[in-house]
């Protein structure tokens, strides 16, 4: 028994370190120019799922859509305790906006079958849209509970969840399967476990093996390279270290709905805004204090 939790995670550019090359001519993000990290709120979604599994039993499957390098976040999830990890990677999925992404993810979740929970971070720090979770719920036909702060209880097929509504909270009960988005105040993600790290550090996706073979055997024929990749994949598989990898065909995706063709969103501009402040002033809550404040605001043209 137990619950099958799927966690959607994303590798994102570290937006704390945005440089001038962050955007391409066509307005899409140039990921190669930015250091990548595990989207922070997705770590909290993962922790919610791992904690649920530890308390109520079940399995945690992690799903990420992205370029080959996104395998990093999958390994990180395994290090922290995820049972299974799948990389959804396909060039035809490049430049997908939230609509196309949620469509692709929904196809992948459908393929997984018998899902009880889908957890997503509230939003990613690159797009900051917070749309993929809710859109994914709609595509799957699942009820959605956004802004989870605590899973209060779980009985058979009903979950009780406290969600933050900005100026307070509400407690909702929801039937499974359900999609839940998680806030960073929900928990503190557990650390990577050393023994899992030592075991799974050698785990690879097929696309990583392909890239490594290209580097290691630059002069080999395609067949020779393929044989080497298959040999390594077999070794990894026998030790449980082969990470799963799906493409759009594997999940029966309609290509019209994927990538650029499935994405009505156009990025107009990426702007780097640095917020600065210089100290602060304390205004006494008196008539004179207020008068003083208004005078200052008029002087620097905030008022009037």
């Amino acid at each position: 028994m137990g619950y099958h939790c799927v966690v959607c995670v994303k590798q994102v550019p570290d937006t704390a370190n945005v440089t001038g090359e962050a955007m391409r001519e066509d307005g899409t993000v140039n990921r190669a120019a930015l250091p990548t990290i595990f989207n922070p709120e997705d770590l909290h979604a993962l922790e919610t799922a791992l904690d649920l599994r530890d308390r109520f039993g079940g399995t945690v499957t992690v799903l990420t859509m992205g370029p080959p390098k996104a395998s990093d976040v999958l390994r990180d999830c395994i290090f922290r305790g995820a049972d299974r990890a799948i990389l959804l990677t396909d060039r035809r999925a490049a430049a997908s906006d939230t609509l196309a992404t949620s469509y692709i993810l929904s196809q992948a979740v459908r393929k997984l079958k018998d899902v009880d929970f889908v957890f997503c971070g509230r939003q990613a720090i690159d797009g900051d849209t917070a749309q993929v979770g809710p859109q994914l719920a709609e595509k799957l036909g699942y009820p959605q509970v956004t802004y989870l702060e605590e899973l209060l209880g779980l009985s058979d097929k009903t979950a009780r969840i406290r969600r933050n509504v900005g100026n307070g909270w509400e407690i909702v009960e929801v039937d499974l399967p359900v999609l839940v988005t998680v806030l960073d105040t929900a928990n503190e993600p557990r650390p990577a476990a050393a023994r899992r790290v030592m075991k799974h550090k050698k785990a690879r996706t097929r696309i990583e093996l392909e890239a490594a073979a290209k580097n290691a055997l630059p002069d080999a024929s395609a067949d020779e390279r393929e044989a080497e990749i298959e040999r390594q994949a077999e070794t990894l598989r026998s030790r449980g270290l082969m990470l799963e990898q799906w493409n759009l065909d594997d999940i029966d995706a309609d290509l019209e709905w994927c990538g650029l063709s499935g994405s009505p969103t156009k990025v107009h501009r990426v702007q780097s805004i640095v917020l600065t402040k210089e100290g602060y002033t304390e205004i006494p809550p008196t008539e004179e204090g207020l008068r003083q404040l208004i005078r200052e605001l008029v002087v620097d043209h905030t008022l009037g």
């Binding site: 990290i37 503190e188 557990r190 650390p191 990577a192 476990a193 050393a194 023994r195 899992r196 790290v197 030592m198 075991k199 550090k201 030790r239």
Partner: protein
């Protein structure tokens, strides 16, 4: 994300500089675990093991920076709570910190894999202890107590090992070494807590005091099992789990390390089990435990000093007075550089000690469990064992002494750099000084470390080791010149040793600190030269850490020059003072100390 391992250049440098391949080889004994069924995380070769060490330290650095350090101020402020029923509630953050370290598999750091441990060498554990201590010095008193599990592993029978060690490795239990009593502090031979046997069951009765983490689940208790033998040979070591027959009577109110519960324990005919053999409790088991613990305190000292130094360095740079940053004032510049030099000096010495511990422990394991068939090889190993034992007999107290004194100095000087701000509780500087202050006291005071170290220095261990260092051939003429300077001062130290040996034991102990200070200056001078040259130790020829660290090695050269320029004159002076034979502190004690104050 902040990380206390990857943000520390000096630790990263030493990680690459030290011959970790050698350590991995001796630790993994042929990398046999990788072939064992049921163990899926053992390294297959040296490179794999070193990569594991790095990854493990990255996890430690992550938890230290992002979790433990963030909570240290609250833990210091609130402390732990003693309940009416003689149990203790750890501060919720302390409990959660330990839980997280357990989740990360870090609570069985050095235990064998068959018990779920990481089988890490002591050296990597030492680095981990430093990193944790930088985040919260007091947490190291629990994280750094893994020597208890090691002691069980080394000396208990298989049944006890199988029962306790997996629980340590899973982080379910923590331990305490229950040694000190009201009248048995530094002098553990005076332990009185009674152990008696009835119908084949041992019981403990009596009181223990100043027990770090005495509220932990597993207690290793030193007790008198032989009422007729009054010295250390009458003591045995026992293990007991928390139960209603052992209660915490009092939690100490301390100057620092508030997160570490220091307990007074009452044993009321508490059932216990014997570890190993009777009568070997103090003379074998506790001695081994204490030696490891001393290296642990050296690491704790490093961590607290690192944390303090970083504030001092930052403040000297950002605080502006007289039209510029205060680091431009010569007096401040001297304080800052002095702190950094001593910090790196202590780290070099402590890691070196820890490395030699690994070589010694693993060599002993081979001799005990897999003695070589070849007689010559057996003989070589036995000689090696003797060599390491003597070297460690000197290095362990030397690093505990040097690192803890350094820690107090750095924490104190950081406050001085911060001036009035440092004295206030707005900065953690004052907490670091309070936390550092214990390091020169527990696990044997500095004065006792000197007593042990000076015997090592005079036994020939110092001379032999430095002779090995002298053999290292440097190609850089500047390093050659520095080595000559060290050789000169070594002669002064040897002359002082000869002089001391001609005097009585009381003069040896009176001159001890000065002699040890002089010897340690020469020793550390050599370690700095090796770091500057990228030579990991005697016998190594290739540059240990390649082009990547070329700039840092140059920096270490400057460090070596500066260290020798400041420390060698001091060392010479110390040798002169030793050879003066001046012993008024002993001969004219009453006169100089004046009358004992009369209590009103």
């Amino acid at each position: 994300m902040a990380n206390f391992f990857t943000d520390n250049d000096d630790i990263l440098f030493l990680f690459d500089h030290m011959d970790l391949g050698e350590i991995a080889r001796v630790q993994e004994q042929g990398f046999a675990d990788a072939q064992q069924p049921g163990i899926d995380y053992a390294p297959v070769d040296e490179a794999d093991a070193i990569d594991n060490y790095r990854r493990i330290l990255e996890i430690v650095g992550d938890i230290a920076a992002n979790t433990i350090a963030q909570r240290a101020e609250d833990v210091d402020h609130d402390g732990n709570v003693l309940n009416d029923d003689g149990t203790v509630d750890l501060h919720p953050f302390v409990a959660d910190n330990i839980k997280r370290l357990g989740q990360a598999d870090l609570m069985g750091f050095t235990l064998p894999r068959r018990f779920g441990g990481l089988n890490c060498p002591n050296l990597i554990y030492t680095i981990a202890n430093e990193i944790v201590s930088r985040a919260d010095g007091s947490l190291m008193n629990i994280f750094g107590l893994q020597g208890i599990a090691e002691t069980i592993n080394a000396f208990a029978d298989e049944e006890i090992k199988g029962e306790f060690l997996p629980r340590f490795a899973r982080g379910e239990v923590t331990g305490a070494m229950v040694l000190t009593e009201p009248d048995a502090g530094s002098d553990l031979q005076a332990v009185r807590l009674k152990a008696f046997e009835e119908d084949g069951q041992w019981y403990l009765r009596g009181v223990k005091r100043f027990i770090t983490n005495g509220c932990g689940e597993v207690l290793l208790v030193l007790a008198r099992s032989e009422p007729d033998v009054s010295d250390g040979r009458g003591l045995s070591l026992f293990i007991t789990e928390r139960n209603p027959k052992v209660t915490v009577r009092h939690l100490e109110h301390k100057l620092g390390i508030h997160g570490s519960p220091t307990c007074e324990l009452v044993f009321d005919d508490c059932p216990a089990r014997l570890i190993g053999q009777r009568q070997r409790g103090l003379i074998t088991y506790v001695m081994a435990l204490m030696n490891g613990a001393r290296v642990g305190i050296a690491a704790q000292s490093l961590g607290i000093a690192e944390a303090a130094y970083r504030i001092g360095r930052d403040y000297a740079h950002s605080r502006k007075q007289f039209g510029g940053p205060i680091e431009r004032l010569p007096a401040v510049a001297e304080m800052v550089t002095d702190m950094k030099v001593r910090l790196e000096a202590a780290r070099a010495l402590t890691y070196e000690t820890s490395r030699i511990c690994d070589l010694e422990n693993n060599n002993n394991l081979v001799l005990e469990f897999n003695p070589p068939d070849d007689a010559d090889e057996r003989k070589r190993r036995k000689q090696l064992s003797k060599h390491y034992k003597r070297l460690n007999g000197m290095l362990t107290p030397l690093s505990k002494y040097y690192a803890s004194e350094m820690s107090c100095y750095v924490a104190d000087t950081t406050i001085q750099v911060l001036g009035g701000s440092g004295y206030m509780q707005d900065y953690p500087a004052e907490r670091y000084l309070r936390d550092a202050r214990i390091t020169t006291i527990y696990e044997g005071t500095s004065q006792l470390q000197v007593v042990a170290a000076v015997r090592g220095v005079c036994s020939g261990a110092f001379e032999k080791r430095v002779a090995e260092f002298d053999e290292i051939q440097y190609t850089d003429p500047e390093l050659v010149e520095l080595k000559c300077k060290l050789a000169e001062v070594k002669e002064d130290v040897l002359a002082a040793i000869t002089f001391v040996k001609s005097q009585g034991t009381d003069y040896l102990d009176l001159a001890g600190r000065k002699l040890v200070d002089a010897a340690v200056a020469v020793y550390i001078g050599h370690l700095f030269l090796q770091q500057a040259a990228g030579i990991s130790g005697p016998g190594a020829t290739a540059v240990s850490n390649g082009q990547q660290w070329a700039d840092y090695r140059n920096r270490k050269k400057a460090m070596a020059k500066h260290y020798l320029a400041t420390e060698l004159p001091q060392a010479r002076l110390n040798c002169q003072r030793v050879q003066s034979g001046h012993r008024a502190a002993l001969d004219e004690y009453e006169l100089l100390a004046g009358p004992v104050p009369v209590k009103e």
